[in-house]
């Protein structure tokens, strides 16, 4: 609204520039929609058609086999032994695991982070506030890679960051430890405080005038009630933004679940899909030549769509929750960010 002059929009030069901008934006949107188009159409192709040269732009003989396969993978009739080894659990188990882990982490992390940011923004001041601020965001500057191995060891023998807990002096017994490794808590607890969201919350709370909070204090509200009844209703947008960022990051997170979750009944979608891709690669179902000359049992799996169409279905399923979250939060996205850098 600002870069183009308000008067003189009819001038050819200004007009040309305007339409160039519109064209760039539409091109970007077009490119952005292409992946969705490819994923959806490919999921309805037959396995043979996905190997076609040239690639077909529209399914020649639409088939729902891949969708049926992914949804029915547990029922004995539709799945051969081969498919069972590739997808050891029914798809909804992975989906449920992802949901539990992500929503559980958010249920803890959003309030914890918001409380701390509020206290830091409105209840502390001066030097103390500054030091707490640095304490909270200091880890943001550090690569996640550094703490990966110690954190992994901590999930095994909390609070001892060693592969085996030390022995209680004078006895043969090791110290008792808490083991959250290979449970959903290994995802939920380390995500309990989110430094980036702290920054978002603090930036937002800083813009709330102190006079509002003081007025409530004068009326005799406790700090918690002030937060709950006055600050939270004003801050829905920033909660939406924080929820959206965290959901996106956790839902697709891959390295950490890969390290701390092992058994197939706790791994989330992202890890399950990666395992499947790796298995495909080794089995050769994504390679046209090998796929065509595959054994009888294997051919059965391929015909059922356990190749690119099946993977595309998984990709679409993985995208849907992100999409839903986006629809929920989108009204607030622009209102919620009030960052001014790392100061």
């Amino acid at each position: 609204m600002a870069l183009f002059p308000k008067v003189g929009r009819k001038q050819p030069g200004v007009r040309f520039a305007w339409y160039t901008v519109v064209a760039i934006l539409l091109l970007g949107i077009f490119l952005h929609l292409l992946p969705f188009y490819f994923m959806i159409t490919t999921s309805f192709k037959t396995t043979q058609e996905t190997f076609a040269i040239p690639p077909t732009l529209w399914p020649q003989e639409p088939s729902f086999k891949a969708w049926e396969l992914i949804f029915n993978v547990t029922t004995a009739s539709s799945s051969s032994e081969r498919i069972r080894t590739l997808l050891p659990q029914p798809m909804y188990i992975y989906f449920r695991n992802s949901m539990i882990q992500v929503l559980g982490a958010m249920a803890i992390s959003l309030p914890v982070t918001a409380f701390a940011a509020y206290a830091n923004s409105k209840l502390q001041q001066g030097r103390t506030a500054r030091w707490f601020f640095l304490f909270f965001i200091g880890t943001l500057m550090l690569p996640f890679a550094v703490t990966l191995i110690p954190s992994f060891l901590l999930t095994r023998n909390f609070p001892f960051p060693t592969p085996n807990p030390p022995l209680i002096p004078g006895t043969e017994n090791p110290f008792p430890t808490i083991r959250i490794w290979n449970t959903p808590w290994a995802i939920i607890i380390p995500a309990g405080f989110n430094a980036f969201n702290f920054l978002l919350f603090k930036g937002f709370f800083d813009t709330i005038p102190n006079s509002i909070i003081q007025a409530a204090r004068v009326d005799g509200g406790s700090e918690f009630n002030i937060f709950r009844r006055i600050v939270v209703p004003m801050s829905i947008p920033v909660f939406a933004v924080a929820a959206w960022f965290q959901f996106g990051a956790l839902w697709d997170s891959f390295l950490w679940p890969l390290v701390v979750l092992q058994s197939t009944d706790v791994i989330p979608m992202s890890v399950a899909i990666n395992n499947l891709i790796q298995a495909f690669q080794q089995a050769g179902v994504t390679n046209a030549d090998q796929a065509m000359g595959a054994s009888q049992a294997f051919q059965q799996a391929l015909d059922a769509g356990l190749s690119w169409p099946g993977l595309m279905v998984l990709g679409i399923l993985q995208t849907i929750p992100v999409f839903v979250m986006f629809i929920i939060c989108r009204e607030y996205l622009l209102k919620g960010v009030r960052l001014r850098g790392l100061k």
Partner: protein, 310 residues
């Protein structure tokens, strides 16, 4: 104790003074509440934020392994990693990736956000909706692996049949693999949400004044928009540097480090050390990466000072 709550009445407009008085007379209950607000976050941040970091430094000087006692080994693991040719290859790959990806893709969201804010309100709404339409990272990996397939992928078809080139190896070539890993980010550019929020905060009067002075399109971007976005850009660039230097997920699923380690980043190498139960070596490598990132961040922040005016 509830009766002790603060009752301050000062004339409106004396806000500074009010605040001071309120703060000096915060009740004991208020102080307890303040600490209750902070406590959970303090615990989480101590145990899962700083504690693992301190442990990482200590662990890299030991011979930690899954079985048996642990003893101090000084800088042995650092020496081992330092003399490992794979370490240097991984650092080289990581730097190439980070530089290429920041040079090619960092500015795009800023400009798209600036252009998008030019659209009339009603059009901006649906454009934003389509533009932020999220595709999960895993889903896009599946798709790009399919498109990049050297036999029947769409890109091979475009290269050979439409552009008339030789068949391209795409992800199978050690010279091209990093570029093709970055390419999706170049094609699927999007506006940055944080920039759009920042742009909303720029007063319209600045642009009106510039217009009276006869400033051109580029001139307005250069002298008003970008300086105003500067603190935000400084922050996102910091995160971009840190983030790309520890890239893992995307190359790991796309290539797994192939061919011949040409796309194996430092964190991917560290992950393979961890899989081989070489904990001390892995942490030593991570600390080396940390030192590099820390150094770069310091240099960058002294050059690109944040928040000159606002």
């Amino acid at each position: 104790m509830a009766q002790e709550s603060v009752t301050v009445t000062t004339p409106i407009g004396a806000e500074e003074q009010t605040q001071e008085q309120v703060q000096t007379r915060v009740t004991r209950r208020g102080r307890i509440e303040k600490w209750l607000f902070l406590l959970p976050a303090l615990l989480f941040q101590t145990f899962w934020g700083w504690y693992p970091l301190i442990v990482a430094f200590l662990l890299s000087f030991t011979d930690a392994r899954p079985r048996g006692p642990i003893s101090w080994r000084g800088i042995e693991s650092y020496q081992r990693m330092f003399n490992d040719p794979l370490t240097w290859q991984a650092f080289q790959v990581t730097f190439t990736y980070a530089i290429l990806s920041i040079v090619l893709t960092f500015m795009i969201p800023i400009f798209v956000a600036i252009l998008l804010m030019e659209m009339p309100r009603k059009h901006m709404r649906w454009m934003m909706l389509l533009w932020f339409l999220p595709l999960s990272g895993i889903a896009s990996t599946i798709l790009w692996r399919y498109l990049y397939n050297a036999q029947y992928g769409l890109f091979q078809y475009i290269a050979t049949n439409i552009l008339g080139m030789e068949p391209q190896p795409f992800l199978n070539s050690s010279d091209q693999v990093i570029f093709w890993l970055i390419f999706p980010g170049l094609l699927l550019f999007g506006p940055g949400l944080i920039y759009m929020a920042g742009l909303q905060g720029i007063p319209q009067s600045y642009y009106e004044a510039a217009e009276v002075e006869g400033a051109s399109f580029w001139r307005k971007i250069w002298t008003i928009t970008l300086p105003r976005l500067r603190p935000i850009i400084a922050m996102t660039l910091t995160f971009a540097i840190i983030g790309t230097l520890q890239i893992f997920d995307w190359p790991q699923i796309m290539t797994g480090g192939q061919p011949g380690g040409a796309s194996r980043t430092v964190v991917m190498y560290m992950y393979s050390l961890l899989s081989n139960l070489r904990y001390a070596d892995g942490t030593a490598l991570a600390i080396m990466l940390f030192a590099v990132i820390f150094g770069i961040t310091i240099i960058y922040r002294t050059i690109f000072r944040e928040d000159p005016d606002a």
